[in-house]
Every structure is written in structure tokens, then in C-alpha cells.
Amino acid sequence: MDSMDSSVASPDLGLELGFPFWVASRRRFKPDDPFFASGNLERELLAKHVALDLTEDERFQLQRMEIADANLFCPIAGCGARLEYLEEFEDHYNTRHMASCSVCFRVYPTSRLLSIHISEVHDSFFQAKVARGFPMYECLVEGCGAKLKSYKSRQRHLIDKHRFPSSFEFYKKAHPSKHQRQKLQRKAYKGGDAKDQESFMDLDAKKESKQTRPKHYRPKQEVKSGTERESEMEVETKLHHPQTTETKVVTNSEAKNEKAKAETEMEVEERIEDIVSGISKLSTVDASSPSSVSFGHRHSRGFAFVPRSVRNQNQISKREQTRKP
């Protein structure tokens, strides 16, 4: 019996089906409900006068037999790992589902998703292929194998074929945590150098190919307080892409998605050309090697590079999804 089964239509929360707001109601259980299993077990043990003879361990064994906790599995999509008992989940999660990108520190629940993220977001070669019309966007569901030509069409595929919610975004808008915002604040206090406003991929010191620094990124909205500026994480990491030569990429990451919207077509075209032409001079960077990948809780959630293809398509969809309260 669920005390919260009355979902209320809630357009402000963006849920068509209604949000299950808390309702204080009584919960009733049938006599054979697993809820009563441990009490029933206790009854039988006490009646047989064995209760005192049992150790904690043996009791636990008996309970497991009664309750058949056996059907406990990890609820992360695609994992299916069997859990012996609920308390095990946290360890399992921390070990298996905390693959984090050492470039932008975003966290993914599987190494596959992490590597997809890295390709799509930190790999210029990937973008080059996209620009040339190759279907590069892999379906996120393991085993599907579909490849789509654009972020948006991959999104469509996920929603249509795999019933993902329409609110799902692989490039989730960042919600800077306290750490992240503190970082932003610190950067702001340093005195905004030009770099603070830079948002996209920069090639590194060997920048012959990139004479013109792309036009200063100018967000269409007003610049807000220092905390709202993009953060810059200049991290030199190794991004491994099997098909390319070594590419060294210095990536800056964005804090806010709105800024992406503001980038003009022209600037983008320029940039893509730069990138494409500079490919041969680039070396791939490996962002997933053990030395730089960190496990454990990470809260910095910089918004990583959004390829032009994504932004263009997303501009329309983002306008539709306004998040103004």
C-alpha cells in the first residue's frame, strides 16, 4: 500500500503524469507481506526455544531464507548486478558506477557512457567526422548499436525506441555544486582575464592554425555576478581516440548552458574550420587512463564543450524547454 499514490498534475515540475507529492495516509499490509516476515520468523524461533541459541549470523541467514532477499539487483540501467543485501549497494555504486571524466569531472555510471561522453565532448576528431556527415552519435543503450548523425536525432532515438523521458539530456545542464561555485568565485576574484570568457576548445600552445582567437564569447544575456561566469578548467589530459594520432586538447568548460545559446553561427563555423584544419597537428589526449580518472564523489559539474551540431539543434529545443519557474 502506497501512501503517495495520488499523483498531482504538476506542470510546474514538468511532469505530465503528475508528481507524487507526499500524502499522509495509512499503510496497510496483508498478513503474508514481506513486511511481517521477520516478525513471523521471530515467533517461530521463540516458540521452539531456539532463539537464544542463535548467533546474529545465523539469524541473518534464517531471515534471508524467509524473506528471499535474493531478488535484489542494482537499479542502474544496464547493470543488473545482484546485490546480496541492500547495504551493499553503496559500495557497489561507488566501485562500479562512479566513472568520472578527468577533463570536466562529470560522473557517469558506466565506463561505456564515460567513453561516449569523452568522444562526443572532448574529441575534436569526433566533431570533425560529425561535420562531414558521418553518423557518430551512438545510442546510449548497450547492445542497441544504432548510430545517429546528430545529438538531437540520437535523443529522438532514445525517446522513441527506448522510451527515455523527453526530459532526459545526456548533456545535462550543469548544476554547479557548492564546490564548483566556489571555484567560479575564486576565478572571478583573480580578475577576469580574457580566458574567463572563453568557452570552447582551444588548441594548445602550438596554435599556428588558430590565429584568430575566436570572437570573445559574449553571452546574449547580461553577465551576471562572478559566480555565473564560466569556469575554466585548463587541464591537460590524455584523451585516447583509437583512430587518431595524438591530440593534445586543452578544454575549457562552461558553467551555464544559456551561454551556449548565444554563440553565433559565424563564430562556430570559424572554429570548426580551425579544428578540422588543425587535426593533423593535434594529438589525442586520453582522459580515461587510471592516473587521471578519479573515483569517488565528485561534485564539480562543469558544462563541457558543446559541439556546434549540438548547439544548433538544441537551440530550438532549449527555447521550448524554458526552465523559468
Binding site: S10, F19, A24, D32, P75, I76, P165
Partner: protein, 523 residues
Amino acid sequence: MASEDTSPSHSHHRDSIKSSVGNTAANRRRQQAISIGKERREALIRAKRLCRDSIFDDDDNEKGLDEGEMVIDEEQSVLNARTAQTVQELKSSLSYQGKDATQKTIEALRALRKLLSKSEVPPIEAAIQGGAVPLLVQCLSFGSADEQLLEAAWCVTNIAAGGPEETKSLLPALPLLIAHLGEKSSVHVAEQCAWALGNVAGEDMELRSILFAQGALLSLTRLMLSNRESTARTAAWALSNLIKGPDPKAANELIRIEAITDTIVKHLKTADEELVTEVAWVVVYLSALSDKAISILVRSDVVPVLVNRLVGSESLQLLIPVLRSLGNLVAADAYITHSILIVGNDITDQVLYGLIKCLKSEHRVLKKEALWVLSNIAAGTLEHKTLIFSSEAVPLLIDLLSAAPFEIRKEAAYTLGNICVGPTKGSDNKSDIIVTHLVPLVKGGCLPGFVNLVRSADVESARVGLIFLELVMRGYPNGEGPKLVEREDGIDAMERFQFHENQEMRNVANALVDKYFGADYGV
């Protein structure tokens, strides 16, 4: 280790595996109980009770004889062989036509009974294989000597304590057992038959149905009226096994029996805690399965008596069914919270006291089920919520939410949430948030516990956690909710759901993150 009630005062046990202290075989039995093999585990879990000692409490002679061979300590194969042989002896004594036929039969039965009651692992299967069942049925025929009936019923009792196949083999004996419950039977015979039937009923729904169809209910109920405590106790236990369902028909039929409620009340008031325990289990199943029973019970004296026992007893064995009966009644019918447990009434304070006592207990079952009852009371009127909020329950609740085993944390969460949410709804069709409760609870440190629930692998717990966080973020004054949630790593916990396999969880978590930690957050 839990301190169970061993009730040393009563003179006989239904199933004392430990017989005499210092006895090496008894120690070995203890050892065996400790190293639990699978078969043993199953035997422990079963709702069956092996009869190892005579139900006579006044037959020293009998006991004296038994003392000598307290334990049959033999290897299983030897035991099986002896059993087969004993069955053969029974068979031949039954076909014997001479003048001592009855005596011979009784002796053979006794030998079989001892094998089935004094062995560590009763040779049930061997007895069945040897053809004991039809012989026992024959021994149970009408007009047989009381002693014969007694021994035969005792053998059947222990065979019925076995596994499913073994129990089902006793089908031919059932009508006879039921018949011997009658008021013309010797009380010992009736009691032993009730015990056997209790074991049969404890097997599964199919057998319960058969017994019900054969009329066991009325006879057992009548036996429960007995003045003899051990008889009433055995009958009550057997009855509880008979009505436990999941089919409610037996429970529904029981409540229709006139005077059942009075009988229940009378027994619940007795001094014999074991009797109270078994009768309380009858109430558990009545209240879990029969709406008619609930309606009758709540208007009777049963509730006040149960509350008294909840407050007054320290016996785990007794508290479990008492607590659960109250729980079932409160859960099923608003009448209790609205008409009996009115805030201000003495009984209400008593209930709260009793529940808090359970919260403080070291027993997981008591904590969990008491929380469940409390959460349902907290789902009552505003006065109830305030009553609980102002009691000493709150720091206990927060502590249990943070530190207890998982299933207890979930119940504590329901209770705390129910305290913060009013019975009425606003114009937006959302339940009113009781800010005067919410703020102190959050300040009292309940948030980390809820965030922890969000991280759980159990979908229901995660949901409870998320829904409470929504309350905080929506209802905490001055818009401080989101910040507070973030401070406890709530965003991280919610973002885990992006790749959760449960669509509803993904939607709910994403919606919350989008709304409260969206682009404007931190501005």
C-alpha cells in the same frame, strides 16, 4: 544478543529441545541447533511445533519412565531401521485378535511415538515409508481406548511437523482428528488432536482449506474455551494457523461465531502470557484478513486490553502479536484514530508510551512494527501529529532514520514525513505542509537520513526520500530548502537517477533537479 523471555515458570513446554541441563546429549542438541544446516533451518522457520513431552503435566510416572531414555542418540540409518521395525510391530499388533490386543497396540504406538519425539531428527520419512499412516488412522478409529488415541495422535502430531510431502500424507487422518476434538473426548486426547491439526494447518493454504471444509474451525474454537490453560493455548495456536490465510474465509467465519470476541477479551486478560500470546495471534489474523472482524473488534474491549498489554509486558513473544494486532487495526480503520485514540484520552497517551517503549527496545521487529503503527497514527489528525511531534519520539525517530538498519529507516521516514504533512489540501491540491513541524525536524538533523534513503537500491525508499526532499524544497521558509538539501549532497543523490532503470524515479528526480537546481540556482 536479544533477551528473550524463556518463561521458566510454566511447567511444560511444547517443544523443549533443551531437556535437562548438563546432559551431554542435550548439549549436542544445542550444538546441532547452532550449526544450522538447510534442513534444520527450514524446520526452524516452519509454523510447526514438535511435541517432545507429554501434554500431561500431572503424570510423574510417565515422565519418570521417559527420563531414562531422554534422548535416542543414534545414527540416522539405525534410527530409520528401528522405526521401520516398530511400524511392523504396530501392524502385527493391529491384526492380532487376542485379548491383549489393545495393550500390544498401545505399546507399539508408544515405541513409535518415542522414536518420533526423542530423536534429534525425528525419523518421519522412515515412518511414512514403513506404512505408518494407514495404521495410525486405524488406531484413531472411534471407540478406541483413550491411551491409544492419545499415542496415535501424538505420532501424527510429529509426523505433521515435517515437510510438505510428509504432512500431506496425513490426509486420511484429518477427519478423525477433527472428530476427536469433540466435547465427549477426553481433554488430553482433544488437546493432542488439536496440536496435530495445528501442525497440519501450518503447512499451506491447501491444507487449511481442507481442514476448514471438514469443519475444524468450530471445534477448535470450542476447545479454546477450555478452562485448562494448556488446552486453550494449543487450541488458540492451532486456530491461528488455520485462519492465517491468505484466503480470508476462515477468518471471516471465525468472527461470526458468537462470543468469540468475549472469549478473546477474556483470554487476553489472563496472567498466562503464553495464552495471551497465542490468542493475540488469532487477533492478528482476524484483523489482517477480515474487515468484518475489524469493525467488531474496534468497538469491543479488545483495543484497550491490547493497549494494556503493550504497556505492561516485557515479553518479546507477547509484544509481537499485540503490537501487530494494534497495527492492523489502526491501519485498516480510521475509527480507531478518530474515535478511540483521541488526543487527550488516557488510552492515547498509553499507546504512545507503549510504542515509544518499543522504539527503545533492542529488538528489530518491535522497532520496525512500532514505527509502522506510529506512522499510521501520524497520518491521522493534526492533533495526532502534534502529539507525536511534542513527544520524546522525535529524537528517537531522527536517530533511527540515520543509524538503524534499512527497513527501520524507511518506517521512521514515513513517520517523520507524515508528521510534517497535514490532513488537508491546499487549493493547488497538494497536502499542506506543517512548517512548524518541518523546520524543527530539519534543524534536528533529519535531512541526511532522507538523502541517504534517496541513495538506496530499494525503489520505494528512494521515492520516500525524494518526496520528502520535495517537501523541504517547496515548504521550508525563505526558500532555504534547496540550499539545505544541497548541503547534504542532495543534488548528487538525485542526479544518480539519471541512469536509473525506473522511469518514474528518473522523471521525479530530474524534475526536482530541474526545478530547484536549474539555471537560476545560486543567483
